[in-house]
């Protein structure tokens, strides 16, 4: 076997269709990213904007809740550990005030924090999706959100 410098495509042995082509008109275009780690929000915003999304970043939990209530967003990426208000509290506040049903946005929890099972059950009830950030690169996040465009 060839032991020299690896070829450019490490996946050449495996037949997998290439990345899905991003449709020109996104149904879920406007994204609110509530994330206090600026490096992460920077990476997410960059990858999502390249894919044609429009991204607003919010660092603070309470401000994120206010932004969410404007109903300007199709997708809300919601971190859990946030200053002033956790992601779970945001979901709960929206749910308890009855606003959640009025919002068009899909809520995707993006976190690195492992949840207790009770919290997990709560999240499963309230959110539309859940990802562990460390396991998903920004481009994979884009793929993930693409599944919203093409419901199975």
């Amino acid at each position: 076997m060839d032991q020299s410098a690896p070829t450019s495509n490490p996946n050449s042995d495996i037949q997998i269709p290439s990345q899905p082509i991003v449709p020109k008109e996104l149904r879920f275009k406007n994204i609110l990213c509530i994330e206090d780690e600026r490096f992460i929000s920077e990476l997410y915003a960059r990858a999502l904007e390249k894919a044609g999304y429009s991204v607003t970043v919010e660092v603070d939990g309470k401000k994120g809740l206010e932004q969410a209530r404007t109903n300007n967003f199709d997708i809300i990426l919601l971190d859990i550990m946030l200053p002033s208000m956790t992601g779970i509290e945001i979901l709960k506040a929206l749910h308890d005030s009855g606003d959640r049903a009025k919002l068009k946005a899909r809520f995707i929890i993006t976190t690195n924090l492992e949840q207790k099972d009770e919290t997990k059950a709560e999240i499963e009830k309230q959110a539309d999706g859940y990802i562990i950030k460390a396991e998903v690169t920004p481009k994979q996040l884009v793929d993930f959100l693409q599944t919203l465009e093409n419901p199975s």
């Binding site: 076997m1 450019s8 490490p10 996946n11 960059r46 099972d117 990802i131 562990i132 919203l148 419901p151």
Partner: protein, 515 residues
């Protein structure tokens, strides 16, 4: 005593009647035969008539015996009717007695009187039972363990103050309420209380069981509790106490483990944040500048990328092992297209193989049935097996992943390398925690968590993991999975149908790996 005289006369009359009947029969037959058949010898006629007379005497005496026994029978029934535990015996009908009615009626009435006078005595004994109940209750009042007593309808008929205090309610709020409305219990493994009780009811007279690591959801203000629980079932319990439950609080003790768990959770969170960022920026470089780099730099970049990936897998491994240790690894099995899932995981692993100059060949039998899989867990299993294959491949550079349907209907998946192999002396210990091939420690990194975790996860799927290896020739690790249809037919589980778990996350009604 008149009654007896009367009865004696009646019996005598019946016996006399029976004797007269048989004598008359004998005489009539004798006369009849001699008159009709004068040729017959008289001796023969008399013997024949005597025989007939004796037979009729026999039957007549049976009838008489029945009549004479009747008063006794009636008395017997009357006594049975009033004795405890024989309530199904109906009272005798005194009107229908043919002989000795007065005597039997009077005796039966005396029996009834005795029986109805016993209530005063029975009451006394009842008082003693309820008194012992009260004594027991008194003892239990001050008993520090929470105790609940339930009747056959699972209604709490008794609880002690310790029980009320433990769940933060008053006794009035507990007694008379269904147990399940009072105690919201979650059992960590094996039979639940309800399953045990149902089973005990169908097959046992008494039964007892102890559960450990039970979780009690206790409302927001009281907080959750962790406990051990003992239950005793007694089908024939006389005082409505079919099942008795005692709780042993272990919240503080088990919370220590939880603290250990939350330490791991915090550490994992802290590790993951910079990892997320590293992987994100590396991806930007990979996508946007790798084409302009010289081959060596591009190679370095891939190595960074692969190593960051490996680190995040390892961090997940730590977390899951901590979960296993704390009995908190919960898997949810869902219907997954196995071919698509395996392909996707192998694709994720390709970079890691590539930077170590290994190539993964994937061979999947077409038209495999959908598998019952917890996607996060299964991702760990396959990535661990492939990581091991990469680590222990030595100079060989081929890794083969196969998946096929076994004859017994299970889906088998194997990961084969052609590397250093495993000595037979240690092959039995491979799936133990922290076990490693010590001879290879100098050349190969790793913690010995991967195989332990893989086995735990495969076991939880209802599958089996195995290894075949020969030193110097390589190893094959394989595991079996249940097709979803098989699992679904074994246990109907339609909960959470709208949620699909995917590796490292989930999305409602969508599959991350659908491509």
């Amino acid at each position: 005593m008149d009654y007896f005289d009367k009865l004696a006369k009646q019996i005598a009359l019946y016996v006399f009647g029976a004797m007269v009947i048989s004598s008359v029969i004998t005489a009539v037959i004798t006369w009849f035969c001699l008159y009709l058949f004068p040729t017959l010898p008289a001796a023969l006629v008399i013997i024949g008539a005597l025989a007939v007379g004796l037979i009729s005497a026999f039957f007549a005496s049976r009838v008489v015996a029945e009549y004479i026994l009747e008063p006794l029978r009636v008395l017997w029934k009357a006594i049975l009717h009033v004795s405890p535990g024989q309530h199904e015996v109906s009272p005798p009908d005194l009107e229908k007695i043919r002989i000795g009615r007065e005597l039997v009626t009077s005796l039966a009435l005396q029996v009834y009187q005795l029986a109805s006078s016993t209530p005063s005595e029975t009451k006394a004994s009842e008082q003693t039972t309820s008194k012992t109940m009260i004594d027991h209750a008194n003892i239990l009042q001050t008993f520090p363990l929470p105790i609940f007593v339930m009747n056959k309808d699972r209604i709490i008929v008794f609880a002690n103050p310790a029980a009320a205090a433990y769940i933060g309610k008053t006794l009035q709020e507990i007694i008379g309420i269904n147990l399940y409305s009072v105690l919201d219990l979650a059992f960590s493994e094996g039979e639940t209380f309800d399953q045990w009780l149902t089973k005990s009811r169908t097959s046992k007279v008494t039964s007892e069981k102890l559960w450990s690591h039970v979780r009690l959801s206790n409302g927001e203000q009281n907080g959750d509790k962790q406990l051990d629980m003992a239950a005793y079932y007694n089908k024939d319990s006389t005082d409505n106490a079919e099942t008795i439950i005692a709780l042993f609080d272990k919240t503080a003790e088990y919370a220590k483990n939880d603290d250990g768990m939350s330490f791991v959770a915090i550490a994992v969170h802290e590790l993951r944040t910079p990892l997320t960022i590293l992987r994100g920026y590396i991806e930007v470089f990979q996508d946007e500048v790798s084409g302009t780099l010289d081959p060596e730099m591009a190679d370095f970049l891939r190595k960074m990328q692969a190593s960051a990936q490996q680190l995040s897998s390892f961090v997940s491994n730590i977390l899951h092992v901590a979960r296993v240790e704390a009995d908190q690894l919960y898997l949810q099995l869902h219907e997954e297209k196995w071919e698509a899932m395996l392909t996707s995981i192998v694709k994720d692993m390709a970079l890691r193989a590539h930077v170590r100059d290994k190539k993964i060949q994937l061979s999947i039998q077409p038209n495999l049935p959908a598998a019952a899989v917890d996607t996060v867990g299964m991702y760990e299993v396959i990535s661990n097996l492939i990581d091991n294959a990469i680590k222990y491949s030595g100079k060989s550079n081929r890794i083969i992943v196969r998946s096929y349907l076994r004859d017994d209907g299970l889906i088998e998946t194997t990961v084969q390398d052609f590397g250093i192999g495993i000595p037979t002396s240690i092959i039995g210990n491979l799936f133990e925690k922290f076990y490693r091939n010590h001879r290879s420690r100098s050349s190969v990194g790793g913690t010995g968590l991967g195989l332990f975790l893989s086995k735990t996860i495969v076991d939880a799927h209802g599958g089996q993991i195995w290894v075949k290896s020969k030193e110097g020739e390589g190893s094959v690790f394989g595991f079996s999975l249940l097709p979803y249809a098989k699992l679904a037919s074994e246990q109907k589980n339609t909960d959470n149908k709208d949620i699909k778990r995917v590796a490292h996350g989930w999305i409602k009604n969508h599959s991350f790996y659908k491509r």
